[in-house]
Amino acid sequence: MQKTIQIRKFAVVAVLSLLVIVGCGKKPGTSGKADRKQAMSAADSAAMAIKIPFALKEGKRLFSHYCAICHGENGDGSGQYYGLTPSPANFTDKAFMKTLSNEMLFKAIMGGSASVGKSNMCPPWGKSFHGEELEFIVTYIRSLAAN
C-alpha cells in the first residue's frame, strides 16, 4: 500500500515537472540573445529590400519633376535641353556609375556639380530639399543603372 502511494507520488511529481518544463519551453528568448541579434540583422537587410520601393517612388517623382528636364525622363542624359556642354550625366551608364560613390552623388546634388570639381551647369539643390529627399533621389539614380 505504502509502496503504491509512493509510486503515485513519484508519478505526480514527474507530471508536474513535465508541465513546468513544457511551460518554460515556450518562453521567448531561450534561444540566446546572440542568435536573435543575428536573425534581426538578417531581417534588417531583407527589410531594406522591401523598403526601397518607397524611396524609389518618391525619388522618381522628385527626379522627374526637377531633374528629368536635363537628365531625361529615363535618366540617360537626354533631356529636352538645348545643347548643354558638357552634356548632362547619363545615369544608366553602368561603367560610369561604378566610378561614383553614393556620398559623391549626394554631394554633387547637394552642392551642385561644381562642388565635385565638375562644370557649374547642375545647380546646387541642397537648400531646396531635405536630406531625406536627396537620399531618395540618390537611391533612384542608383537604380537606373541596376537593370
Binding site: G23, M48, N120, P123
Partner: protein
C-alpha cells in the same frame, strides 16, 4: 470492503493531485501569458533597446575612431600639457603678485569710479532743480548757476569716462591672464564632448522603461497604442530598417506637423489602434474590423479628413492628382460630394443641341461616346439604337421639329480661305487645349473636347456663332472669345470643317425627317431616368430633383454646403467609412473580396455589375484611374476629427468668418468672363496652375511689357510648359507653346471706353500687388553701379545660370529667357525671387542658391540691364 474503500480513497487522491497539478499549471500559464503571450510589444521594445544600444555603441566607436584619426589623443596630451603649463604660469609667484596688484588696482579704480558717478548724479539733480526754478521764475541768477553746473557736469563726465577706461583696461589685463587657461579648458571640453555625449546616450537608452505607449485624444476619445511596437517611428536617425523599428519615411513632412505623440497614428493610417496582442489585430486585418491599415500612397487619402484645400500640400501629391479626376469625370454631378458644390457643369448645354450637331452623330454618341473619340469623358449608358434615337428626338425637338444631318464636305470652301484658317488655328493656339490627330492638349486640366472628327459633327452656322461668342451658346463654357473678325471666323470654320473629317461617317438624314411625338415622350423619360441633367443644362429640367439613397454625414459638418441640391446618385461624403455590412455586393458577394476598397473599385470598374436595375454609366476608366478615384472616395469619411485638427480651405474660412470669398469685380470681371484667363492662370487662388500665377502680377511685371506681350504673345518658358506633369495628357504636346493671341486691345470693354488691355493693366496695378515685393531694391552706396553690374555678371556666369536661362543666343531653355528681362520684370520682384523662388511657386524647378542680400542686389542690377531695344 476495506479494500474497496482503499481503492476509492486512492482514486480521490489521484484526482485531487491531478487537478491540483492542472490548477497550478494553469495558474503558471495565466501569469506567463498575461506577462508575455499577450504583450508581444514587450519583446519589440526590448529588441529595440538592444538594437539602439548596438547603434549607439557603433556611434560611440565611430566617435572614438574619429577622435583617434584626427589625432585626438595627441592633441589632448598637448592641450593638457599646455594647461599644466598655463596652470604653473598662473600659479607662479610673479603672476600671482601681478594678479594681486591688478585686483588692488581694479578695486581702487572701481571705488574712484563709483565716487565720481555719485558726484555726477548729484550735480545732475541740482541742475534739474535749478532748471525747474529757472523755467518757473525766469530769474537770471538761476541761469548763471545752471551754466556753472553744466561746466562742472562736463568736467566730471570726462573724468568718469577716463576712469571707466582705466577700469576696463585693468579688467582686460586681468582676463588676459585668465584667458589662456580658460581657452585651453574650453578646447579640451570641445575635444571630449562628442565622446561624452555618445556615452551619455548609451546610459540613457539603458534606463528607458518598457511600457505601453498610448496616445489618447481626449476630445474625440480616440486612443491608439501603435507606438508600443513602432517604437522608433519618430526617431531622428533610423535604428533599424526592420519592422516595427523603422523611422517614418519623409518624417520631416508628415511627423513634424503631426506630432505622433499628439495625433497618434490611426487618424491617418486607420487600423485597430487599441489592439496590442497581435500584428494582424493591430493592423486591422481581422474579420469584422472594417478599417484595415492604410499603407503607402493610400495613406494620403487621410489628408482629406482634415485639410480643406490640398492643393500644393507637400506630401499629398498623389491624392491631389487623384482628386483632379473627380473634376475630370464630374462625379459631383450625380453624387453629393462636399467641397464641389460650386464646380460648374461637366457637360455642355443641350438646350439647342439640335442646331449644333448632326442627328446621326448624336445617336452614335449617345450609344457609345468613345466610338467618336477615344478620350471622350462622357460615359457609356448602354443605350440601344432605339433608346438613343428617342433621346436624340427629345433633344432635337427643343430647337426644331426634324431629324437632320448636314454634310460639310458637300460645298468645298475656297482653298485660300482654308489656308488662312489654318494660319489662324495655329496663331490662336487652339491645340493648347484641343487635341487633334493625337497632337496638342497641353493644358490637360481644361478637358477641351477632341476635335479630330469635329467637321462631321457640327454644322457650319453653329460653329461660326460659337467662335464668335461662346458665352452666348453656353454661359459656363471655358472657351474664350478670340475677338476675331467675321471674315477670320469664316476662314477658321472653313479650315475646321475641311480638315477634321470623319471618313467613316454615315449621314442618314441629309433629307430632314419629321420627329414622332411618341418618341419624344419616350426620350424625355429616359433622360429623366438616367439624369442627363446632372451634367448638362437642359431646358425644363434645371431644377430636376431625383432623390437617391442619401447617407447623412456626421462629424465635420461645417465643411459642407447646407443648401446642396439633391443628386441622382448616392451621397459620397461618407462612402469611405460606410460599414461594410451595408454595402450591397449582390451578385459579386462570392466573387470579390468583401471589403470597402474592393467594393468601390469594382463599382467603378463595372457600375452595373452588383445587381439588375442600376443606372450608373460606365466611364471605362483605366485601372490606374480606378485606383486613384477609389483612393479619393476612400477618403470621404465621417471620421470624428477634433475641430482643432481641421485645416479649412480659404473659402471655408471666409464662409465661417462671414466674408465673401475673393471674386473678380468691375470691368476686369467682364474681361475674365470673356477671355477666361483663369483657364491657365491662377489669380488669388482662382484658376488653374498651367500658366504663371498672376496674383502679384502688378508688382512683378512692367506695364510696357504687358502691353506688348498681350498684343503679341511670345515664348517665355519654352520647355517647362510642355512637360506632361500630371499624366492626364491625351496627346503629344504641341511643339511651341505661347499664350494664344486673343487680339486684345482693339475693342472696348462693354459699357466702358477703355480697351481690355487698359482694364487688365489697371486691375494688375490696383489689385494684384504684393506687399512682400518691394518697389525698389536696397542701394549699396559704397559701390558704383558699373561695379555692381559686373559683379552680378560674374555671379551669373559662376553659378551656371546659363544652363537654364538664355541671354541672346546663349544658354538653356528651361527657365525664362532673360534677354529682355530688364523690360519685363520689376527689380523688386527679381530681388525677392532670388531670395526664395518657392515662395512664389511651391514646386518651382529653380533651386534656392542661398544668395546673400548683396549678391541678390548685384544680380538684380545686372539682370535689369538686359533689355531688347524694340520700337
Amino acid at each position: 470492503m476495506a479494500n474497496e474503500n482503499n481503492n476509492n480513497s486512492s482514486l480521490r487522491v489521484y484526482l485531487f493531485v491531478f487537478f491540483s497539478v492542472l490548477l497550478l499549471a494553469l495558474s503558471i500559464w495565466v501569469v506567463w501569458d498575461d506577462e508575455f503571450g499577450l504583450r508581444p510589444w514587450k519583446k519589440y521594445q526590448e529588441d529595440y533597446k538592444t538594437l539602439k544600444h548596438d547603434k549607439l555603441e557603433r556611434d560611440y566607436k565611430k566617435a572614438v575612431v574619429e577622435f583617434e584619426r584626427s589625432g585626438g589623443h595627441k592633441r589632448l596630451a598637448e592641450l593638457e600639457a599646455k594647461l599644466d603649463k598655463a596652470e604653473t604660469a598662473f600659479k607662479s609667484k610673479e603672476t600671482q603678485e601681478k594678479m594681486a596688484r591688478l585686483n588692488k588696482q581694479l578695486d581702487a579704480a572701481h571705488d574712484a569710479l563709483v565716487v565720481s558717478q555719485q558726484e555726477l548724479r548729484n550735480l545732475r539733480g541740482q541742475f534739474l532743480e535749478t532748471e525747474y526754478y529757472f523755467t518757473k521764475t525766469q530769474q537770471p541768477e538761476y541761469k548763471v548757476k545752471m551754466d556753472q553746473l553744466q561746466r562742472q557736469i562736463d568736467a566730471i563726465g570726462l573724468r568718469v569716462a577716463a576712469q571707466q577706461k582705466s577700469e576696463d583696461s585693468v579688467k582686460g589685463s586681468l582676463s588676459a591672464i585668465m584667458v589662456t587657461k580658460a581657452g585651453i579648458q574650453g578646447e579640451i571640453a570641445k575635444l571630449q564632448n562628442p565622446l561624452e555625449e555618445a556615452k551619455e546616450k548609451i546610459t540613457k537608452n539603458n534606463t528607458v522603461p518598457v511600457e505601453i505607449k498610448q496616445v489618447h485624444i481626449a476630445d474625440v476619445d480616440k486612443a491608439d497604442r501603435c507606438q508600443s511596437c513602432h517604437i522608433g517611428i519618430d526617431a531622428k536617425s533610423q535604428v533599424s530598417a526592420v519592422q516595427p523599428f523603422t523611422k517614418h519615411p519623409l518624417s520631416f513632412i508628415y511627423l513634424e506637423r503631426h506630432d505622433p505623440t499628439k495625433f497618434g497614428c490611426t487618424f491617418c493610417h486607420r487600423g485597430q489602434g487599441r489592439a496590442t496582442t497581435s500584428t494582424e489585430k493591430a493592423h486591422g486585418n481581422v474579420k469584422h474590423w472594417d478599417e484595415p491599415m492604410l499603407v503607402g500612397d493610400m495613406t494620403q487619402t487621410s489628408c482629406l479628413n482634415c485639410h480643406g484645400d490640398i492643393k500644393n500640400l507637400r506630401g499629398a501629391e498623389k491624392i491631389v492628382n487623384s482628386t483632379e479626376l473627380i473634376k475630370k469625370y464630374g462625379c459631383y454631378s450625380c453624387h453629393k460630394i462636399p467641397g464641389y458644390e460650386t464646380v460648374g457643369d461637366v457637360g455642355p448645354v443641350l438646350t439647342e443641341v439640335g442646331t449644333k450637331v448632326n442627328y446621326s452623330w448624336e445617336v452614335k454618341w449617345l450609344m457609345d461616346p468613345q466610338s467618336y473619340s477615344s478620350t471622350a469623358r462622357m460615359p457609356k449608358f448602354y443605350f440601344t439604337q432605339d433608346q438613343a434615337e428617342s433621346m436624340a428626338d427629345y433633344l432635337f425637338s427643343m430647337s426644331g421639329t426634324t431629324r437632320h444631318d448636314v454634310d460639310n464636305t458637300k460645298n468645298k470652301p475656297d482653298a485660300k480661305l482654308v489656308e488662312a484658317g489654318k494660319a489662324l488655328w495655329a496663331q490662336s493656339r487652339c491645340n493648347l487645349c484641343h487635341v487633334t490627330g493625337g497632337r496638342g492638349g497641353n493644358n490637360v486640366k481644361i478637358y477641351a473636347p477632341e476635335l479630330s472628327k469635329v467637321g462631321s459633327k457640327v454644322n457650319k452656322e453653329w460653329l461660326f456663332r460659337w467662335i464668335k461668342n461662346p458665352n452666348a451658346y453656353n454661359p459656363g463654357t471655358k472657351m474664350p472669345r478670340f475677338r476675331l473678325t467675321d471674315e477670320e471666323i469664316n476662314s477658321l470654320v472653313a479650315f475646321i470643317t475641311t480638315e477634321f473629317q470623319d471618313e467613316e461617317v454615315e449621314y442618314k438624314y441629309t433629307q430632314p425627317v419629321e420627329i414622332q411625338a411618341a418618341s419624344i415622350v419616350k426620350g424625355k423619360e429616359l433622360i429623366q431616368k438616367y439624369g442627363c441633367y446632372g451634367c448638362h443644362k437642359l431646358q425644363g429640367m434645371e431644377d430636376m430633383v431625383q432623390v437617391a439613397p442619401s447617407l447623412k454625414k456626421q462629424g465635420i459638418t461645417f465643411l459642407r454646403n447646407a443648401e446642396m441640391r439633391e443628386k441622382i446618385g448616392m451621397e459620397l461624403s461618407s462612402i469611405g467609412s460606410k460599414p461594410v455590412d451595408m454595402l450591397d455586393f449582390g451578385k459579386m458577394k462570392k466573387v470579390i473580396s468583401n471589403d470597402r476598397l474592393t467594393y468601390i473599385k469594382q463599382k467603378l470598374r463595372d457600375p452595373r455589375g452588383y445587381r439588375l436595375g442600376l443606372r450608373m454609366p460606365n466611364f471605362r476608366l483605366p485601372e490606374s484611374e480606378i485606383n486613384q478615384l477609389a483612393s479619393v472616395l476612400y477618403g470621404f469619411t465621417d471620421a470624428n476629427v477634433p475641430t482643432r485638427f481641421l485645416v479649412p480651405s480659404r473659402q471655408e474660412l471666409d464662409r465661417l468668418a462671414g466674408v465673401q470669398s475673393y471674386k473678380f469685380t468691375g470691368d476686369f470681371a467682364k474681361v475674365i468672363a470673356d477671355v477666361k484667363c483663369t483657364n491657365c492662370h491662377s489669380i488669388r487662388g482662382i484658376g488653374a496652375d498651367y500658366a504663371p500665377d498672376l496674383s502679384y502680377a502688378g508688382s512683378k511685371l512692367q506695364e510696357g511689357w504687358i502691353r506688348k506681350f498681350l498684343a503679341n504673345p511670345d515664348v517665355i518658358r519654352p520647355l517647362l510648359q510642355q512637360m506632361p506633369k500630371f499624366g492626364f495628357t491625351s496627346g503629344k504636346p504641341a511643339a511651341k507653346i505661347t499664350m494664344p493671341k486673343f487680339n486684345l486691345g482693339q475693342q472696348k470693354v462693354e459699357d466702358t471706353n477703355r480697351t481690355d488691355v487698359d482694364v487688365v493693366i489697371n486691375f494688375f496695378q490696383q489689385e494684384l500687388v504684393s506687399n512682400d515685393i518691394p518697389k525698389k531694391i536696397p542701394v549699396i552706396p559704397a559701390m558704383t553701379m558699373t561695379e555692381q553690374i559686373s559683379k552680378g555678371k560674374s555671379l551669373y556666369d559662376d553659378k551656371g545660370c546659363k544652363s537654364c536661362h538664355q541671354i541672346g543666343t546663349e544658354g538653356g531653355a528651361i527657365g525664362p529667357n532673360l534677354t529682355n528681362v530688364g523690360n519685363r520684370l520689376n527689380p523688386g520682384f527679381i530681388f525677392k525671387h532670388l531670395e526664395n523662388a518657392r515662395k512664389f511657386k511651391p514646386d518651382i524647378v529653380e533651386p534656392n542658391y542661398g544668395f546673400t542680400e548683396r549678391e541678390r542686389i548685384y544680380l538684380t542690377n545686372f539682370l535689369m540691364t538686359l533689355k531688347l531695344d524694340t520700337k
